[in-house]
């Protein structure tokens, strides 16, 4: 995430192309419909495994090849790396809280954006909820310095 000041002119267009493909893929897979996700979570249609597995397989192949055989990304000059986050209790606690929310609603952030794209305006309630939750978490953390270090952001 360096070189934010003098960014390659293709940087934003590439983000837009990749994001569009991401959103299209989410909609194509059915994950933009909370009902399909809930069917998975109720063990009635395990298709979501193929969505996450397919996406991780493609991405994993690309990450492996890039980290082994390529040097710097052309648009940022940054080195290719893997996504690693330090492990601590908050990884499990956060996963559990997210899991309850996912199980109640069938929503995760990416699928919610895609859901809005397929015309599902009620999902705005879910997205508003996510912002409320993220704000509450950040507000709470901001005034509890002693646990501050555990709150590493994700990508």
């Amino acid at each position: 995430m360096s070189a934010s000041d003098a960014r390659n002119p293709l940087f934003v267009p590439l983000i837009a192309v990749g994001g569009s493909l991401f959103g299209f893929g989410l909609a194509y897979s059915g994950m933009a419909r909370p009902e399909v996700v809930l069917d998975f979570l109720q063990l009635q249609d395990l298709g979501l495994l193929f969505v996450m597995g397919g996406a991780a397989a493609v991405t994993g192949t690309v990450i492996t090849l890039a980290t082994r055989h390529l040097d710097h990304a052309p648009l940022t000059g940054d080195r290719y790396g893997k996504r690693e986050r330090s492990f601590d209790r908050s990884v499990l606690l956060g996963g559990a809280v997210f899991g309850v929310g996912w199980g109640i609603s069938g929503l995760c952030p990416g699928s919610a954006y895609a859901s809005l794209g397929i015309g599902n305006y009620p999902i705005l309630l879910g997205i508003a909820g996510m912002f409320l939750g993220a704000y509450a978490q950040g507000y709470w953390r901001a005034y509890r310095q002693e646990t501050d270090r555990t709150a590493t952001p994700s990508d």
Binding site: M1, S4, L14, G18, L21, F22, G23, F24, G25, A27, Y28, S29, G30, M31, A32, R33, P34, E35, V36, L41, G47, F50, G54, A55, A56, V62, A66, A73, Y80, R83, R85, L93, G94, G95, V97, F98, G99, V100, G101, S105, G106, L107, C108, P109, A112, Y113, A114, L116, G117, I118, G119, N120, L125, G126, G129, M130, Y135, G138, S154, D155
Partner: protein, 170 residues
């Protein structure tokens, strides 16, 4: 398509259709497209773009709280906005071309709002969501991400089955 199922026993066939009543092609193809989308960004920029940091980075536009205004959010908030809006646009293209236009959910409003709040809290505590941990993290063979994904999968399945048992539909 049928040919590949011939080797399966009748029992296997029955459980296969039972486990995947909508088939698997839409799921596998969608997953590959998702992977291609994030891979294009990764190859060009070395960034593994997750979907949930958008909350903090966007809150930095409107909140004075220092946590939301850290350099990493300020430096990425513009492209994260583009990334998210393009996800909305990509899904809209799908809906217009292949998805019979618009669609809305029957899931109840309190589930959307309440679940959303917990998703917002949980992804921020847990350092990522289904795309950050579930795609990039698993793709990186990160043990942290495997632990996070296993946790949220198990808890979400337990939650959804409990809701179903309580008769909450949709």
């Amino acid at each position: 398509m049928l040919g590949q199922f011939d080797a399966l026993t009748i029992i296997g066939q029955a459980s296969f259709t039972g486990l995947f009543p909508r088939g698997i092609s839409q799921y596998a193809i969608g997953g590959v497209l998702i992977g291609l989308g994030v891979s294009i960004i990764y190859l060009g920029t070395a960034i593994t773009p997750g979907a949930s940091t958008f909350f903090e980075s966007t809150l930095s536009y409107v909140s004075e709280i220092p946590r939301f205004n850290r350099a990493k959010y300020l430096a990425t908030r513009d492209w994260r906005l583009v990334f998210t809006l393009s996800m909305v646009a990509g899904a809209a293209v799908y809906a217009l071309l292949l998805g019979q236009g618009g669609w809305t959910t029957d899931v109840r409003p309190w589930r959307l709002l309440g679940g959303g709040v917990l998703v917002g809290i949980g992804t921020r505590i847990g350092k990522g969501c289904t795309s950050g941990h579930g795609i990039h993290g698993l793709a990186s063979l990160s043990r942290t991400s495997f632990a996070n994904v296993a946790t949220f999968m198990a808890v979400a399945i337990g939650t959804a089955l409990s809701m179903q048992a309580l008769g909450v539909t949709p």
